[in-house]
Symmetry: C3
Subunit: 407 residues, 3 copies
């Protein structure tokens, strides 16, 4: 797939770092913006290398640093973004899992389908593509055409499949855009054959990174699909008194445990050992262009992170509050998705599982940004307020059957 | 194990490429027939290399090209043959799985024992050795001497175990023979300890490759064994109107789905999206030497593939018709075996699971050939007809209890 | 973690061979005692290398040879000790599994939780840390705070987790001490977060190796822990007429099969094909310093191995008699532990599962020695007799409910 872009006319520099079908693999590589005349304050870099030893043995990572914001993409783990940093502030969280874990150390089916949790430490990790959400039984059609009961593991397979293609590219326009392209195949004989193509881009000095994903059904028949972006933040953006701002149409707690926190479901607590997660399911509002924005701001409203995305593509939003101790993983997940992360069978019954026809594509785009300074934060607040407008959020104090099997 | 051969007197050139116990591993190596005076039209080569990136990271492959026919053997996947080519015609098929998948990405137990399907793309893949066939429950004796219920995964483990030994060799007789030797151990403490030794050979310019397998019980007690050669063909040999020719004693459909196709079970349809597989179980006839021959010829009877094997060793033959869309894998499997690929417990109840005593060996030999030209194809038809002779095939329209649990 | 030692004042030479968080990985390295002036008879060496090919591909091993005794430590398999040798005598056993198997080829959940057995061939292998013992159902609390039934696999995960850190060191005192430090993390989001730090040391020419393990709870809440040292011996120390000597307070057979052998439970039989294991559970006696000693001597009382350890830390001792044929693995396991290797749920019900508070550490130390010559063996016998003193061992002929679910 080309790394060109609709509407972009300028030349494109590209470097293939991995292409399994053509037999290309580059172990170490780097590119400096100096080559294109970006020096000093304006310097940017792309660095690809392979990690060694322990659970990270053989994991390829690419660090993309635009001068202000840097991210570490992990092709070996489905093109997730391990960690980011903006002007010294961590984008991501401190998981008990310290390094990017090679998928071959993960048994997704382990512990009743919870094996995914042994590799979970990313800032942004995709959950899908055949399924995401809680582990559980599902019924498939096997090779003999018979109904067969199988167990779907927590959050699906895509985060534990290595990329088949990886390119670094520079779109030489004004502004110049730097990025990575990767493709990841979730395929099985007699199963789904879905290809994720992702473009992860930024601009020199920008405070954002854009994820543009295309999922295509390469199989011979219709295929179901689910996709959730598990975007996770710990300190310094998450802290006692931090708040979530987002334009709400409806919101309901997932379960009784989440109901307990309804009086303050948009603000966050300090780290508490043994804190049991609270999860809220949202239907959001969007602006006229279909886009919405979710903001996590710190207590003093001096720094924030935001995620912008198109509600038509990602109509379900989940808030995961896991303000347990630092050792356990003090973290909140902001999760735009095609569905809520319940068991797939439940989501299917609510019409929230997509179905792609032959060669049909699903596209989604997210912009993840970091913001420092009161003025910036106030502007974000205003953005959310504008989308909310005069519409009164509908807040359910208890789980509702439409969103939640525990309702 | 030596790469010499009973009855062969000439000198043998051999190169050890892998021997885990002696600590030998050669990452890249090649040999040209020029060294032995084979030049120009008569050139042949053996090339060993390691693949990198994605699901093929760390997979060793050996390409053996005799000048007319080439094969790619995959030591890392149990010495299966990924693909072959004869005068530009693909021997094998186009699976949705595009590269040889490293076994450590395969969880055989996944999806109710269907994980094998995530790596399935070979021309010739062995199914066994503890078990093959449909996934299902079986009862074993555990370390405590107690009966224990376990799940056996689809088609067993041997295709997902890397070889422990690999040698390339040239038997310098007339004709000269070139080949590969590999050994693969399927062993567990308190479990089977079976060693597969395989010799895969051909001759310069030949239209065939011979697989000679020896399976030895290295354990301390008797051990059960099953073996099936899943030989898979897509285009150009498989096409609408292609036909299967084979000397039949008895044949029955596996299930109701296969019964539907009894009126044309020996001919093939065009690719059809969502086509559900049809499987037929055969008892074949053999010639005076115990050997039989199965032929797949194209619509115009201008090209064909054949498989020859000894019926005493491989008494069960299965035809797998999976003429689904090209994207799903348009393919037919011709499967000589010790048993039918039903659940092991059923096969045991029918006396079709072998049992090897201490140090006892099982041997099997297959010759897989490709044929271009009407004269060649007619000769093949004649070969099959001769074995059939005047014996009337017994064709069952419905599954029979002897062959099939669905009967 | 430093490789210094309480009470040790001298300088320490150390070499970091692996540190995943700092990005250090050394593929091949060696150190000779000659550097420190140890030559000729007094020579000793440490050699680190990576194995290639087959099931051992990518396995790191370190061979530490003190001049008389050598051991091969396997960082990739949780810092277990694959094999040792003392003056030409094997310390360890001949398993059907011939090479150190990379963890990514092991599916612990396979065959009803018996997958661990596909990699089992070590002299000393730790079983733990979340659990050890027989596979079985257990109830955990999942991320949603709900009780969830999971399957715990045989002997836990620690032996199939690669080390995160590895150092070789030399403590330059008198006597000089040479050793290895390694850390292995058994961690999951919403699960245990236990770090094993191990110091494996010896002295030039010594007949022993010391294992000093520290397990720390790095999680945010209390965590359960189990630890068993599976120390396995075959020939030449195990043979027909070999005997086990140990100071017994109480002993009981695990099950009816073990009851059959009560009349000779401390002596060993010759290899017998199909012999079903016999397992005995012991409460031992200790000397005034809290330490105890277990001795396996050969028939002629001319050579022996011993294991010394502190009973307060490792109060449960298990004897595993598996005198099956040489092909099956003729072996006995001497197993100091925090518990008996029953299913975790049973051990918990008997109060034999440890619980570590935040940052709480558990420490254990074992000294494994080899002894050649009648005088040495007689001294060992005397050591055990002294600890036994006048106390009469309580020997149960049948399983007892306190030790065994089969009682």
């Amino acid at each position: 797939m080309a790394v060109r872009k609709e509407g972009f006319e300028g030349p494109v520099f590209e470097k293939t770092l991995l292409d399994v079908e053509r037999g290309v693999y580059v172990e170490h590589w780097s590119l400096s913006g100096e080559v294109f005349g970006f020096k000093g304050e304006k310097a940017w870099t792309i660095q690809k290398r392979r990690l060694r030893g322990g659970l990270q043995e053989g994991v390829d990572i690419v660090r993309l640093n635009n001068g202000s914001l840097s991210i570490t993409v992990v092709p070996t783990r489905g093109m997730g973004i391990w960690k980011g940093s903006f002007k010294g502030n961590l984008l991501g969280w401190e998981s008990p899992i310290k390094v990017p874990v090679h998928p071959h150390f993960i048994n997704l089916d382990e512990r009743g389908g919870l094996g995914w949790l042994r590799g979970f430490n990313e800032w942004v990790v995709r959950c899908g593509l055949e399924s995401n959400g809680a582990p559980g039984e599902d019924i498939i059609t096997d090779n003999m055409g018979r109904r067969k009961s199988i167990m779907l593991p927590l959050h699906g397979r895509i985060a534990n499949i290595p990329a088949s293609e990886l390119k670094a590219f520079v779109r030489l326009g004004k502004p110049l855009e730097i990025g990575l392209y990767g493709s990841v195949w979730e395929a099985s004989m007699f199963g789904q054959n879905l290809r994720l193509s992702t473009y992860i881009t930024t601009e020199p000095q920008a405070n954002w990174v854009r994820i543009h994903d295309i999922i295509e059904n390469l199989g011979g028949t219709r295929a179901e699909m689910q996709l959730l972006y598990h975007c996770n933040y710990g300190r310094p953006f998450l802290e006692e008194g931090a708040r979530l701002l987002l334009p709400i149409k409806r919101v309901a707690p997932r379960d009784a445990r989440a109901s307990e926190g309804m009086d303050s479901f948009l603000s966050f607590r300090k780290p508490e050992p043994g804190f049991v997660e609270q999860v809220y399911f949202f239907e959001l509002l969007a602006g006229a262009d279909g886009w919405t924005k979710v903001v996590l701001e710190d207590k003093d409203r001096k720094k924030a992170v935001s995620i912008s995305f198109n509600l038509e593509r990602l109509p379900c939003f989940t808030l995961w509050k896991n303000t347990a101790s630092l050792e356990e993983g003090y973290v909140t997940g902001l999760e735009p998705a095609t569905n809520f992360p319940n068991q797939k069978a439940f989501e299917r019954s609510k019409g929230r599982v997509l179905s792609l026809g032959l060669r049909e594509r699903f596209e989604a785009e997210l912009i993840l940004a970091a913001h420092i300074g009161e003025a910036e934060v106030l502007r974000l607040e205003e953005d959310v307020r504008k989308i909310q407008g005069l519409i009164e959020p509908k807040v359910f104090d208890s789980p509702i059957p439409e969103f939640s099997p525990l309702g």
